[in-house]
């Protein structure tokens, strides 16, 4: 497991019904591409987050498959529609099998 992996997500706390909200997510992760070499010339093995998903009350918003070309500390921005009060759940899947999760409550007013 990569060290100090910390997801950060920005979601509004309240929204009106069917409002379109912009979600920004960032997770601290080295995203080692498998292309770099250490000072002895050995290839540093690939270690990246290979998948990211965002769900709202169990329904899919976006599902992204990531390749090594995604930068360190993967950042995503996308828009979601909020039909009701509920919870956004964000999941990141690491190459080593670790899964990082974060969730945010949104209240429809």
């Amino acid at each position: 497991m990569a060290d100090n992996v910390k997801p950060r997500v920005r979601v509004p706390k309240t929204a009106s019904k069917d409002e379109v909200i912009t979600i920004k997510t960032l997770i601290s992760h080295p995203m080692e591409s498998g292309q770099r070499k250490d000072k002895d010339g050995n290839v540093i093995p690939r270690s990246i987050i290979n998948r990211f998903t965002a769900e709202f009350n169990g329904e899919l918003v976006v599902d992204a498959t990531l390749e090594p070309a995604i930068s360190t500390n993967p950042y995503f921005e996308f828009d979601a529609r909020v039909p009701e009060t509920g919870e956004f759940k964000f999941t990141w899947y690491d190459d080593d099998g670790s899964v990082y999760e974060d969730s945010h409550q949104v209240e429809v007013t």
């Binding site: 379109v20 909200i21 591409s33 498998g34 292309q35 770099r36 070499k37 010339g41 290839v43 769900e55 709202f56 329904e59 899919l60 918003v61 976006v62 599902d63 992204a64 498959t65 990531l66 390749e67 090594p68 070309a69 995604i70 930068s71 360190t72 993967p74 950042y75 995503f76 921005e77 996308f78 828009d79 979601a80 529609r81 909020v82 039909p83």
Partner: protein, 148 residues
Amino acid sequence: MLISRRGVLTASVGLVGLAMLPVAVRAQDAAAAPAQTADEMIAEFTGGAEAVEGDGVKLTAPEIAENGNTVPLSVEAPGAAEILLIATENPTPGVARFTFGALAANQAAATRIRLAKTQDIVAIAKLADGSFVRTAANVKVTIGGCGG
């Protein structure tokens, strides 16, 4: 023991040669590893169907990226089910593949990517009716982002 200038020179050349040898061998190994080419990835995504150049997908990328390690990129394809992003000249051309669910307000996403050198980025969107549209953007990279 007498050390001649010539002797030292020959010996050092030999040493350098020896040191380079394993690197060369490793480089060959890396090249032999199966990395899908950009065309292969596109063919797999479209299932062999022709992707037409079109307005259905829009790719926003900077014209010049000073740092290839983080190039901001956004892609938008109204009504698309999936979008595939490819950096044609990267050592591994795949960048990302977005699948949009029912609650995605629009079929757009923004992220940051790595680019090894100046190249075209290709975005292919799979539309709801199963057809494919593609677009490309050229990004000039000042410092590549793949290390070593």
